[in-house]
Symmetry: D2
Subunit: 262 residues, 4 copies
């Protein structure tokens, strides 16, 4: 963990909490405000958190903001296709360079998530206000730190079920049980370049999910865990020609450079 505060940007689509009365009532200042508070509540002076919204110029993700973000959290639902491809490309680059990315709930369909994972990220779903029980498969994992039992429950929620079309996670931390009969890989990490991604399922804007004690703890844990270490190793995302070689080569070889110039 860096000794200076982790610089977090909470990105939010911010549509339903402006347009839908039920959501507005739950999140009067926007869901991003509540996610921001959850992170600050647990990490205090170890973080500085700003927010960024779809409606802002560059969706709030200017080059300057991205360059100064250690961990980005992402929530979107109905406006994924309004996110500019050029911004997605920049976020993608920053993840490969080491920025952590926490993708929440319906963010599974965000362009950036699909681009990083390479699959459709589709799933089964149902909104029936049913019970969810999240089982922890890696109780020693920093993202599960401080949970009081082998599972925690969300009394009423939307269901997401398998088959979740994702690559095999590098770590599978939570699996959900749903009252209506499904299971779901609810807490997953993947490495991409120098960056780490954490997908965390709980959500849906019509339930008070981001006020839920353990959900808040897990998001804060993830922010802490995904903050890049201060490695000085260079990341080369181009393809450098290494010449002369590091160790001697006995062969004498004539290169046709034209085959490499493209």
């Amino acid at each position: 963990m860096p000794s200076s505060p982790i610089r977090v940007t909470v990105w939010h689509e911010h549509v339903h909490d402006r347009t839908n009365d039920a959501v507005k009532k739950l999140y009067p200042d926007g869901m991003h405000t509540v996610v921001k508070q959850a992170i600050e509540e647990h990490l205090g002076n170890d973080v500085t958190v700003r927010t960024a919204l779809l409606e802002q110029p560059d969706h709030g993700l200017t080059d300057e903001v991205l360059a100064n973000t250690d961990v980005l959290t992402w929530w979107g639902h109905c406006a994924h296709d309004q996110v500019d491809d050029a911004i997605v490309q920049k976020v993608h680059r920053r993840v490969l360079e080491g920025m952590g990315l926490v993708v929440l709930h319906s963010g599974h369909y965000a362009k950036i998530f699909k681009k990083l994972l390479g699959t459709t990220c589709s799933l089964r779903w149902r909104e029936a206000g049913e019970k969810e029980r999240l089982w922890c498969l890696m109780p020693g994992h920093p993202i599960a730190d401080g949970l009081d039992d082998e599972y925690f429950e969300i009394e009423h929620t939307e269901m997401y079920g398998e088959l979740f079309d994702i690559p095999t996670p590098d770590e599978l931390i939570f699996v959900s049980w749903f009252e209506g009969g499904e299971v779901f890989r609810s807490g997953c990490t993947w490495n991409r370049g120098k960056g780490k991604i954490f997908y965390f399922r709980p959500g849906h804007e019509t339930f008070p999910i981001y006020y839920h004690k353990q959900v808040r703890r897990v998001i804060a844990n993830a922010v802490k865990h995904l903050a890049p270490s201060r490695s000085s190793a260079p990341v080369r995302l181009e393809a450098p020609c290494i010449d002369p070689p590091l160790s001697p080569i006995t062969t004498v070889h004539q290169v046709d450079q034209s085959l490499h110039d493209h």
Copy 2:
């Protein structure tokens, strides 16, 4: 393995073996012809192999060809950006549906490979005609079947070195040692949807790589291993709403359907 023959399509960029004398001399009928022969040599009546070229309509990858391909092999080097995005999209869909994909050498920069993996797939390289020794880390793997020793050698080759910017492979089968001092993850698999991907490093068009005994064996093994099983499980790549639930839910919940209509 299917009881009917595996339907293989060998895709080739086919530029350098038309335009460069040295390459033309090595592969007078095109590299695709030699790759095709390697597969047929080992799998005989268990396969039917066709070829497809960049220069053909739809790059030879029409809907009909793709729908009837169990395993696609891919070689490209200097013309990756001439591959139509719409075709890439169709190949991507077919992999998720179960089609195997064998990516060879400089295909690491193919659009389809980067799209499936989500990273830049960059690497270090050097063309110095040096020696490569491929060590097998999974001697029990079907893709390593029939190799006679713990490693095999390529006397003169182009070097590819780490850091190879890929997601952690689901299986790491071969790691290369290079005379000039690098190592490389040369044989890797990943699962995406119902499909399997195998990346195999050896290549470069100025060396007779695809005439090499063990290289040919590994490519044929991979074709056999990646052929989809005849599972009748449906693949749902959309996000179906599951209602009514599979098991009873006690809560009575009112859905705001407008939040889901987008």
Copy 3:
């Protein structure tokens, strides 16, 4: 898959189906007979199946039987500690050499399973005759071949729940949902040496689990998938000194051989 039949040995503890009336009624000829039939039903002439029982000399696992077994299936429950350590050692060796091992249900506590995985393999459980729904996370996997839907159900069964104390599986194929509120990693593979292991949860001797259509199919699929390929690569399970080196070393170095003689 080998062209000659896969040689399967079905190992069974064979205690409860001799001593308990309810189990005897379900499995009058022993559970091993039913497992054997399940494999033969699906694989026919592609397999030859024998059985081996705890009560037999060497538990039926003589050197000759082990040397001629491609895949071993294992069911035990109440008599794990009666299995001789010397036999466990031999089975362990054979797995590393390439023999497949299918561990069923309460076999999670078998000595050989714990020895191969390195953990306690403990879990939560309850016998309440509840419903289990097994979700397939890898619908393209050969072990899931031929299943008709995204899940299958067992109407009445014993529950096994997380936390299942196992190393992260190399492949997680099935996750179970239980009516009473738990989830479980029910179908897992691990590689050990040249061998593959498959753990499959369904079972308990008071339910007719091994007559269940999809359970039988999965076991047969696993047998086929775990059969070793005919690789000729040598497996060196000792630590050979490689001298002279494969490639030239410039340093002149004096070895103190006494440090290596132990």
Copy 4:
């Protein structure tokens, strides 16, 4: 990372540095002293480090020491079989409970390492004073933090080569290139229970490996990374019966308790 200091125990076999003149000259106060200093040099007040030796009562690993160890480092070579099985059993338990374990060089043959991994952990080797170049495959990993380049070199060392008979690592951080022609998975992690294991190859007592700048940094990084988080989740390493169920079960079922009493 815990806010109180990480409690580290450096375990050492301590045979060759008492009996062999060359080793004695390199490590006059024992290798454990040098490993201890390496950890303290980098982690300062964030650690308290003690040492424990084979020759001590309980090999220095009393119940009290183990209970108060967050991370244990392990070096052994010629006296693995003198380590008491009862102590190995206790260390095993502590790893499952969350204690980190750093296994160094010839510790690959330690009883505790083989017990946790389930394989023979055999490898190829050669002592020829050759060059080793360790390539970093995960430059964003905390264990690689602070390394200045994509690789680091050890000028003269013993060689360890593949096939290294280990389970697929959960993370593969370093792969070594050897002058004499081999490659090796030199930095690997595995999860077991709540504990994490890191194997780090560099070593051999006749070379000044534990004075090497980057080797020292990696060992210190590993200690920091493997320190258990302060999760309050209980670890149940027995198999508890969960009755009554968490969620209602509709079936009425009669249990034959005798089948579970063993």
